[in-house]
């Protein structure tokens, strides 16, 4: 049961964290009215994934391996682009919030609100088909044993609970600190998603170098351990990483992080001026 629980946790964690941050973001901007749209995006992704998964599991058509890897790989790369756009858009909106009228923020959000919905949709849908195939396989096994389904369900519930905890944690910290930390976290997540997408395309044979490993720490961090699961589920850390994955990870993270830090340091940066005061606020209450 534990092994199935960990699979469910790993597949659901990243989506739960991203959605948790999106919800916290809208709540902080006092735009709870957009939440409905956000949940619509999440619900749609879940429904489409479960529907497609059921069709592929119980219907007369299967999905070829190449098609599945291509879908997974391309969606990962699109998701990275979207999340990157969102991080910088959030930062810009936060600045507007501090310097100009409320209505400016509102008009900004009307266009980009749908962008956030798309991010939520992709965050959940990216690995949704794979997760749905796993769940339906567990359902199929219930004739013999209900343990796999029970494990998978608890794992996914655990992921959602962690997403909720992240929401509770970050929704309390002040806006400037909020953007700095969620932005930083999302950049690391996006980098992981990108290198995961590259791995998918390497497995599909679209990109070369599947067997040229940059490092292999599988012995120290087994992928089926709980900590291996958490690392994989949050930042997509792969214990056996190829050179191409590592190169893509670094060439995404370094420039994006530098641009992000530069944007953060701009004089009229997010809302509350963020000198030492906001940093100490983080250490006292932001750790959760």
């Amino acid at each position: 049961m534990i092994a199935n629980l960990l699979i469910g946790l790993r597949e659901g964690l990243e989506a739960a964290l991203v959605v948790g941050i999106l919800v916290a973001y809208l709540v902080k901007l006092r735009r709870r009215d957009v939440l409905g749209r956000l949940w619509l995006g999440v619900g749609l992704a879940v429904a489409v994934s479960l529907g497609l998964g059921a069709l592929l599991t119980f219907g007369s058509y299967g999905l070829s391996f190449q098609a599945q890897e291509l879908i997974g790989g391309s969606l990962s790369i699109i998701a990275t682009a979207l999340v990157t756009w969102m991080i910088f858009w959030m930062l810009r909106t936060a600045r507007t919030l501090g310097t100009s009228l409320r209505s400016d923020v509102d008009s900004h959000l009307d266009g980009a609100g749908w962008g956030l919905v798309l991010v939520a949709f992709l965050a959940v849908g990216r690995e949704g088909i794979e997760t749905a195939l796993f769940i339906w396989a567990a359902v199929q096994a219930t004739g013999e044993t209900t343990m796999p389904l029970l494990g998978a369900s608890i794992g996914i519930a655990l992921a959602i609970a962690l997403g909720w905890l992240i929401y509770r944690g970050v929704v309390r910290i002040n806006l400037g600190t909020f953007f700095a930390w969620t932005g930083f976290f999302l950049i690391i997540v996006a980098a992981g998603v990108l290198s995961y997408g590259v791995h998918d395309l390497q497995e599909a044979g679209v990109l070369p170098g599947l067997h040229s490993l940059a490092f292999d720490v599988s012995a120290a961090i087994p992928p089926d351990s709980w900590y291996g699961t958490l690392l994989k589920g949050t930042v997509n850390f792969s214990p056996a990483t190829t050179w191409l994955e590592a190169a893509v990870w670094v060439s995404y993270t370094v420039p994006v992080l530098l641009l992000f830090l530069r944007a953060l340091r701009k004089p009229n940066a997010p809302v509350a001026p963020r000198p030492a005061a906001s940093d100490s606020a983080l250490t006292t209450q932001g750790a959760s």
Binding site: N4, F65, D224
Partner: protein
Amino acid sequence: MIRRPLAIVAAATVTVAILSGCVPNTTPGSNGTTIHVDSTAVDCVLSATSAPSGSIVFSVANKGDAATEFYVLAEDGKRVVGEVENIGPGISRDLVVDVQPGTYYTVCKPGMVGDGVGRAPFTVTDSRTG
């Protein structure tokens, strides 16, 4: 200013998803061969080690205690022809591959780490000649 790039990204997303979804699906059951695979902690046992070319369904049952993966590798033993992951204990999942005649390798990877266990050659014969 924000709407246009967004619309483009959205359209691109949908297009890519639909295009990749349209890769010809194979039809297990109708003209394909189904092969049962038992994956344990130490072995990877197939119900048959050869099949006619075309669509082959590997129905992989995890009889071990750790999550497992199943791979079909090309003749060089490296290139991945097909892979199914996230097969938890007690779960059975299908891998559908469309293969040309030739020699392949099958291998299970309990614990999702290392080179796997039970690596064995798998022959695909030409379905048109026999």
